[in-house]
């Protein structure tokens, strides 16, 4: 461990005001992107006994934090920013991980053995023996007139959430563009905070491809009955500026729809999906196709760089999925599981990524939990318990359960998740009776 101590000295000296171009000693592993997957990679590596020095580097000025609460508890003010922090400073120090904040990597020089040097926009250099790209995704921008007005916002990171929170107090009307998870979560949170919220969805139904038709319908009705104004198959033509004089930057005052309707809005929140950050991978010459293309061991096309989480396009990890099928997942569970696989690769073990993806989304009092991936289903089974507000849809392919969307029904969610993990089945006929606990009818396929 003695070399690690030397390596650590350099960034410390930098913090005390060394020149920006000073070069830290070579780190064993440079992780670019200090969020869910980058943090998990560092943590998993230490748990596996990886003893090289690790630099966990990110462009944000915050210590690594969890994103999911940004559209939920944090926005509503029920949790403080401190509880979103993944690990204490002491943890990183004890585990010989250098946390570098506020450095945006713009270019990487790489050798064939996997080592190289990353260059940041402020002119710093970060030499490494191995590289991990955990750069995530960025919000997709809506390029229409008025898109640069003050008050037109996105929600991807803590600074976005802080900017939104700072404006909430003065706003009475909010228009959310995009009826996906982030849009609906933020819309429910803002409605709970007393705002008059309208959700505009370009498509014919909510939550796009992520859930099936029945679940989309359920959410539409549930949100409308809770007073959320949701408009489907509409698109915004332009954002209208507030013409109050003396404003530093003109602020948004409304949204004009294609049919000419104008909705007042002091805040417009856009949640129309994300784009994986592949710029560095492209510059490195790695194969990129809707994300950084990786194999089952989380290795990119050069065979040495690992890429994981939201930025990675990987073989579908669900056991039994079609050969060659690829997927990019945007979830905490995937960031964690993918990081574990990468940690094995970096320590010389070959452990394939095989798992049951799962996801949650909390909207008002609706707790959605999704187990598995519903792509390619040929049958659904609905379970509804109106009285207790429970709702689940099970998805089947050739008689085998492959996924479930469960609302306020953790027992169903857990039963399906466990069955999938064990390669079991839940026969469709028996599952249709909502009074029967799924656990009791699970069979060994």
């Amino acid at each position: 461990m003695s070399t690690n101590a030397v390596e650590q000295a350099a960034p410390a000296a930098q913090a005390e005001g060394a020149t920006p171009s000073s070069t830290p000693a070579r780190t064993g592993l440079l992780i670019i992107g200090a969020s869910q997957s980058g943090v998990q990679l560092a943590v998993s590596l230490r748990a596996l006994g990886f003893d090289e020095h690790i630099t966990l580097l990110g462009d944000e000025d915050h210590r690594p934090y969890q994103r999911p609460a940004l559209s939920k508890e944090f926005l509503q003010g029920t949790v403080e920013s401190e509880s979103l922090i993944f690990r204490s400073n002491e943890y990183w120090a004890e585990h010989n991980v250098d946390l570098v904040k506020g450095e945006f990597i713009v270019r990487i020089d790489k050798n064939t053995d996997g080592s190289g040097t990353a260059h940041s926009s402020s002119g710093k250099q970060f030499p490494f023996k191995r590289l991990a790209l955990t750069v995530g995704a960025r919000a997709r921008k809506l390029e229409i007139e008025g898109g640069d007005l003050d008050g037109v916002l996105y929600l991807r990171n803590a600074d976005d959430a802080l900017a939104l929170k700072a404006r909430v107090g003065d706003a009475s009307d909010v228009v959310v563009i995009g009826g996906g998870f982030i849009g609906l979560e933020a819309a429910s949170s803002l409605q709970k905070m007393g705002k008059n919220v309208t959700v505009l969805e370009f498509g014919p139904r909510l939550v796009g491809r992520a859930v099936g038709e029945e679940t989309a319908q359920y959410f539409l009705q549930a949100h409308r009955s809770r007073g959320l104004d949701i408009r489907l198959s509409v698109s915004a033509r332009r954002f209208i500026a507030n013409d109050a004089p003396g404003e530093r930057r003109p602020a948004v005052a409304g949204v004009e729809l294609e049919d000419g309707t104008v909705l007042p809005a002091q805040i417009v929140l856009i949640g129309i999906g994300v784009i994986p950050n592949t710029q560095l991978a492209e510059q490195l010459g790695l194969t990129v196709d809707n994300g950084i293309v990786v194999d089952r061991f989380a290795l990119a096309s050069d065979g040495t760089t690992v890429a994981i989480g939201d930025c990675a396009n990987m073989p579908n990890p669900v056991p039994g999925s079609a050969p060659g099928e690829r997927i990019r997942l945007e979830s905490v569970n995937n960031a964690i599981e993918h990081a574990k696989v990468a940690a094995y690769s970096l320590t010389g073990r070959r452990e394939e990524y095989a798992g049951i993806p799962w996801f949650w989304s909390n909207q008002a009092d609706l707790k959605l939990q999704i187990a598995g991936l519903c792509n390619g289903y040929d049958r659904t089974v609905l379970r509804r318990d109106e009285e207790r507000g429970k709702f689940s849809v099970l998805y089947y392919r050739h008689g085998q359960v492959i996924a479930a969307d469960c609302v306020n029904a953790p027992l169903d969610f857990m039963a399906v998740k466990n069955a999938l993990a064990k390669g079991q089945n839940i026969p469709a006929e028996a599952a249709a009776d909502a009074a029967t606990p799924l656990k009791t009818i699970t069979t060994d396929s």
């Binding site: 943590v43 748990a47 969890q66 999911p68 609460a69 939920k72 508890e73 949790v79 509880s83 979103l84 922090i85 993944f86 690990r87 204490s88 002491e90 943890y91 004890e94 585990h95 905490v332 569970n333 964690i336 949650w360 909390n362 707790k367 939990q369 953790p410 027992l411 969610f413 857990m414 039963a415 998740k417 466990n418 656990k439």
Partner: protein
Amino acid sequence: MPTVHFTDAEGAVRDVQGNTGDSVMETAVRNGVPGIVAECGGSLSCATCHVFVREDCLAQLPPMEDMEDEMLYGTAVDREDNSRLSCQLRLTDELELFVTTPETQV
């Protein structure tokens, strides 16, 4: 200062001082206590923050809500009478809590 004593499945003990108001889960995760995964960060969606609470400590804890009760049926290691989800347990001023973490959370 509230203290939580975490015992892992092999019997190794870690004593962690926490802050009043934080959850047992947050206290564990921030300090890297092994055996608590907490994928959902405390929003009662994952059941990967399962702990067994020492019997004589149970009475100091807030009662279990229905959702926690249901989620506990999905833990990786089967629930026991003294099972709780640690994200639902808040530290109070003088709390001294003894918990054991299960062999696995996923």
